[in-house]
Protein backbone atom coordinates (compact mmCIF):
# COMPACT_ATOMS: atom_id res chain seq x y z
CA UNK A 1 0.00 0.00 0.00
CA UNK A 2 3.05 2.26 0.16
CA UNK A 3 2.80 2.67 -3.56
CA UNK A 4 -0.64 4.19 -3.30
CA UNK A 5 0.67 6.61 -0.67
CA UNK A 6 3.23 7.84 -3.11
CA UNK A 7 0.73 8.17 -5.87
CA UNK A 8 -1.53 10.02 -3.47
CA UNK A 9 1.16 12.65 -3.22
CA UNK A 10 1.53 12.76 -6.97
CA UNK A 11 -2.17 13.08 -7.31
CA UNK A 12 -2.28 16.24 -5.27
CA UNK A 13 -0.36 17.97 -8.00
CA UNK A 14 -2.93 16.92 -10.54
CA UNK A 15 -6.39 18.32 -10.48
CA UNK A 16 -9.63 16.89 -9.21
CA UNK A 17 -10.26 15.34 -12.58
CA UNK A 18 -7.61 12.75 -11.84
CA UNK A 19 -9.30 11.85 -8.63
CA UNK A 20 -12.63 11.54 -10.34
CA UNK A 21 -11.23 9.33 -13.08
CA UNK A 22 -9.48 7.13 -10.59
CA UNK A 23 -12.68 6.71 -8.60
CA UNK A 24 -14.71 5.90 -11.68
CA UNK A 25 -12.10 3.38 -12.71
CA UNK A 26 -12.04 1.82 -9.25
CA UNK A 27 -15.78 1.61 -9.22
CA UNK A 28 -16.02 -0.32 -12.46
CA UNK A 29 -13.02 -2.47 -11.54
CA UNK A 30 -14.61 -3.41 -8.23
CA UNK A 31 -17.97 -4.26 -9.73
CA UNK A 32 -16.20 -6.35 -12.35
CA UNK A 33 -14.24 -8.22 -9.70
CA UNK A 34 -17.36 -8.75 -7.63
CA UNK A 35 -19.39 -10.21 -10.47
CA UNK A 36 -16.49 -12.40 -11.54
CA UNK A 37 -16.20 -13.76 -8.00
CA UNK A 38 -19.91 -14.48 -7.99
CA UNK A 39 -19.61 -16.31 -11.24
CA UNK A 40 -17.04 -18.53 -9.53
CA UNK A 41 -19.37 -19.07 -6.61
CA UNK A 42 -17.11 -17.09 -4.29
CA UNK A 43 -17.37 -14.16 -1.98
CA UNK A 44 -14.60 -11.60 -2.22
CA UNK A 45 -13.42 -9.36 0.60
CA UNK A 46 -13.28 -5.59 0.19
CA UNK A 47 -9.49 -5.13 0.57
CA UNK A 48 -8.84 -7.68 -2.16
CA UNK A 49 -11.11 -5.85 -4.60
CA UNK A 50 -9.58 -2.48 -3.76
CA UNK A 51 -6.13 -3.93 -4.22
CA UNK A 52 -6.99 -5.47 -7.58
CA UNK A 53 -8.59 -2.21 -8.68
CA UNK A 54 -5.45 -0.27 -7.77
CA UNK A 55 -3.28 -2.77 -9.58
CA UNK A 56 -5.46 -2.46 -12.64
CA UNK A 57 -5.19 1.31 -12.53
CA UNK A 58 -1.40 1.15 -12.42
CA UNK A 59 -1.57 -1.38 -15.21
CA UNK A 60 -3.59 1.11 -17.26
CA UNK A 61 -1.03 3.84 -16.68
CA UNK A 62 1.70 1.50 -17.81
CA UNK A 63 -0.34 0.57 -20.85
CA UNK A 64 -0.82 4.23 -21.72
CA UNK A 65 2.92 4.84 -21.55
CA UNK A 66 3.72 1.85 -23.73
CA UNK A 67 1.05 2.67 -26.29
CA UNK A 68 2.48 6.15 -26.66
CA UNK A 69 6.00 4.85 -27.12
CA UNK A 70 4.95 2.08 -29.52
CA UNK A 71 2.88 4.34 -31.72
CA UNK A 72 5.58 7.00 -31.80
CA UNK A 73 8.14 4.39 -32.67
CA UNK A 74 5.98 3.34 -35.58
CA UNK A 75 5.78 6.99 -36.65
CA UNK A 76 2.09 7.24 -35.88
CA UNK A 77 0.40 9.77 -33.68
CA UNK A 78 -2.46 7.46 -32.91
CA UNK A 79 -2.25 4.18 -31.05
CA UNK A 80 -4.07 1.27 -32.70
CA UNK A 81 -4.95 -2.31 -31.86
CA UNK A 82 -1.58 -3.54 -33.03
CA UNK A 83 0.07 -1.53 -30.26
CA UNK A 84 -2.20 -3.03 -27.65
CA UNK A 85 -1.38 -6.54 -28.81
CA UNK A 86 2.30 -5.67 -28.79
CA UNK A 87 1.93 -4.65 -25.17
CA UNK A 88 0.81 -8.19 -24.35
CA UNK A 89 3.25 -10.03 -26.60
CA UNK A 90 5.21 -11.61 -23.73
CA UNK A 91 2.22 -13.72 -22.79
CA UNK A 92 1.29 -15.81 -25.81
CA UNK A 93 -2.11 -16.80 -24.51
CA UNK A 94 -2.99 -13.25 -23.68
CA UNK A 95 -1.80 -12.02 -27.05
CA UNK A 96 -3.77 -14.76 -28.78
CA UNK A 97 -7.01 -13.95 -27.01
CA UNK A 98 -6.52 -10.26 -27.67
CA UNK A 99 -5.93 -11.03 -31.31
CA UNK A 100 -9.14 -12.97 -31.58
CA UNK A 101 -11.01 -10.16 -29.87
CA UNK A 102 -9.35 -7.79 -32.30
CA UNK A 103 -10.53 -9.86 -35.26
CA UNK A 104 -14.02 -9.88 -33.81
CA UNK A 105 -13.99 -6.10 -33.66
CA UNK A 106 -12.80 -5.91 -37.21
CA UNK A 107 -15.42 -8.37 -38.32
CA UNK A 108 -18.13 -6.05 -37.09
CA UNK A 109 -16.72 -2.96 -38.63
CA UNK A 110 -16.75 -3.31 -42.42
CA UNK A 111 -20.52 -3.71 -42.53
CA UNK A 112 -21.13 -0.41 -40.82
CA UNK A 113 -18.78 1.93 -42.64
CA UNK A 114 -16.83 1.76 -45.84
CA UNK A 115 -14.03 4.12 -45.00
CA UNK A 116 -13.20 2.13 -41.93
CA UNK A 117 -12.93 -0.98 -44.04
CA UNK A 118 -9.72 0.25 -45.59
CA UNK A 119 -8.33 1.18 -42.21
CA UNK A 120 -9.14 -2.17 -40.76
CA UNK A 121 -7.47 -3.89 -43.67
CA UNK A 122 -4.33 -2.00 -42.89
CA UNK A 123 -4.74 -3.08 -39.31
CA UNK A 124 -5.15 -6.61 -40.52
CA UNK A 125 -1.80 -6.68 -42.23
CA UNK A 126 -0.10 -4.98 -39.35
CA UNK A 127 -1.55 -7.41 -36.87
CA UNK A 128 -0.45 -10.41 -38.82
CA UNK A 129 3.05 -8.95 -38.77
CA UNK A 130 2.93 -8.86 -35.03
CA UNK A 131 1.76 -12.45 -35.11
CA UNK A 132 4.79 -13.50 -37.11
CA UNK A 133 7.15 -11.84 -34.70
CA UNK A 134 5.77 -13.60 -31.67
Amino acid sequence: MEGSRESDLEKEEDDDATELLRDRFRHSAISLAESEAKRNGMEISQPVMVCIADLAFKFTEQLAKDLELFSQHAGRKSANMEDVILFAHRNEHLAASLRSFCNELKGKEPQTERKRKKDSRKDDKATSNVLDLS
Binding site: A33, M42, L55, Q72, V84, L98, C102, L105
Partner: protein
Protein backbone atom coordinates in the same frame (compact mmCIF):
# COMPACT_ATOMS: atom_id res chain seq x y z
CA UNK B 1 -20.13 -10.90 -19.88
CA UNK B 2 -21.43 -7.45 -20.72
CA UNK B 3 -19.63 -6.14 -17.69
CA UNK B 4 -16.53 -4.34 -18.90
CA UNK B 5 -14.75 -1.01 -18.81
CA UNK B 6 -16.13 1.98 -20.61
CA UNK B 7 -13.69 2.75 -23.46
CA UNK B 8 -14.29 6.46 -22.88
CA UNK B 9 -13.06 6.10 -19.32
CA UNK B 10 -9.95 4.35 -20.58
CA UNK B 11 -9.45 7.11 -23.13
CA UNK B 12 -9.66 9.72 -20.38
CA UNK B 13 -7.07 7.90 -18.29
CA UNK B 14 -4.75 7.51 -21.27
CA UNK B 15 -5.06 11.20 -22.08
CA UNK B 16 -4.24 12.04 -18.49
CA UNK B 17 -1.09 9.92 -18.54
CA UNK B 18 -0.03 11.29 -21.90
CA UNK B 19 -0.47 14.90 -20.90
CA UNK B 20 1.39 14.23 -17.65
CA UNK B 21 4.26 12.72 -19.60
CA UNK B 22 4.25 15.58 -22.07
CA UNK B 23 4.56 18.02 -19.18
CA UNK B 24 7.42 16.03 -17.71
CA UNK B 25 9.20 15.99 -21.03
CA UNK B 26 8.81 19.72 -21.38
CA UNK B 27 10.27 20.18 -17.94
CA UNK B 28 13.21 17.96 -18.80
CA UNK B 29 13.83 19.77 -22.05
CA UNK B 30 14.24 23.00 -20.15
CA UNK B 31 17.19 21.59 -18.23
CA UNK B 32 18.87 19.35 -20.77
CA UNK B 33 18.24 19.79 -24.42
CA UNK B 34 20.53 17.04 -25.63
CA UNK B 35 18.28 14.25 -24.52
CA UNK B 36 18.31 10.82 -26.11
CA UNK B 37 14.55 10.93 -26.44
CA UNK B 38 14.58 13.87 -28.79
CA UNK B 39 12.69 11.90 -31.39
CA UNK B 40 9.79 11.49 -29.05
CA UNK B 41 10.14 15.04 -27.82
CA UNK B 42 9.94 16.77 -31.17
CA UNK B 43 6.63 15.29 -32.15
CA UNK B 44 4.86 15.98 -28.90
CA UNK B 45 3.96 19.66 -29.12
CA UNK B 46 2.36 19.60 -32.51
CA UNK B 47 0.67 16.24 -32.18
CA UNK B 48 -0.32 14.72 -28.87
CA UNK B 49 -0.86 10.97 -28.89
CA UNK B 50 -4.36 9.68 -29.46
CA UNK B 51 -5.86 6.22 -29.57
CA UNK B 52 -8.40 4.92 -32.06
CA UNK B 53 -11.72 3.49 -30.97
CA UNK B 54 -10.84 -0.14 -31.51
CA UNK B 55 -7.58 0.23 -29.62
CA UNK B 56 -9.57 1.54 -26.68
CA UNK B 57 -12.01 -1.34 -26.87
CA UNK B 58 -9.13 -3.75 -26.97
CA UNK B 59 -7.53 -2.04 -23.99
CA UNK B 60 -10.77 -2.38 -22.07
CA UNK B 61 -10.78 -6.05 -22.91
CA UNK B 62 -7.18 -6.37 -21.74
CA UNK B 63 -8.06 -4.77 -18.42
CA UNK B 64 -11.13 -6.95 -18.08
CA UNK B 65 -8.94 -10.00 -18.62
CA UNK B 66 -6.49 -8.74 -16.03
CA UNK B 67 -9.17 -8.42 -13.38
CA UNK B 68 -11.04 -11.62 -14.17
CA UNK B 69 -7.76 -13.52 -14.22
CA UNK B 70 -6.82 -12.09 -10.82
CA UNK B 71 -10.18 -13.06 -9.36
CA UNK B 72 -10.17 -16.52 -10.88
CA UNK B 73 -6.70 -17.30 -9.61
CA UNK B 74 -7.52 -16.14 -6.10
CA UNK B 75 -10.73 -18.14 -6.26
CA UNK B 76 -8.76 -21.27 -7.12
CA UNK B 77 -6.51 -20.78 -4.09
CA UNK B 78 -9.45 -20.11 -1.80
CA UNK B 79 -11.19 -23.20 -3.11
CA UNK B 80 -8.12 -25.32 -2.46
CA UNK B 81 -8.18 -24.08 1.12
CA UNK B 82 -11.82 -25.02 1.35
CA UNK B 83 -13.13 -21.51 2.07
CA UNK B 84 -15.70 -19.53 0.13
CA UNK B 85 -14.42 -16.04 0.70
CA UNK B 86 -11.42 -14.62 -1.11
CA UNK B 87 -9.07 -12.97 1.38
CA UNK B 88 -5.89 -10.96 1.03
CA UNK B 89 -3.72 -14.00 1.79
CA UNK B 90 -5.06 -15.63 -1.37
CA UNK B 91 -4.21 -12.58 -3.38
CA UNK B 92 -0.70 -12.58 -1.94
CA UNK B 93 -0.23 -16.13 -3.13
CA UNK B 94 -1.08 -15.44 -6.75
CA UNK B 95 0.25 -11.90 -7.08
CA UNK B 96 3.85 -12.59 -8.18
CA UNK B 97 2.84 -14.88 -11.02
CA UNK B 98 -0.03 -12.61 -12.02
CA UNK B 99 2.30 -9.65 -12.37
CA UNK B 100 4.75 -11.74 -14.37
CA UNK B 101 1.99 -12.84 -16.69
CA UNK B 102 0.74 -9.36 -17.51
Amino acid sequence: MENTFDPELIRAIFKLVWSRRALERERNEGTENLDGEVGAGTSKKSRPTTANANALKLSSELLRLFITEAVQRTATIAEAEGVYKIETTHLERILPQLLLDF
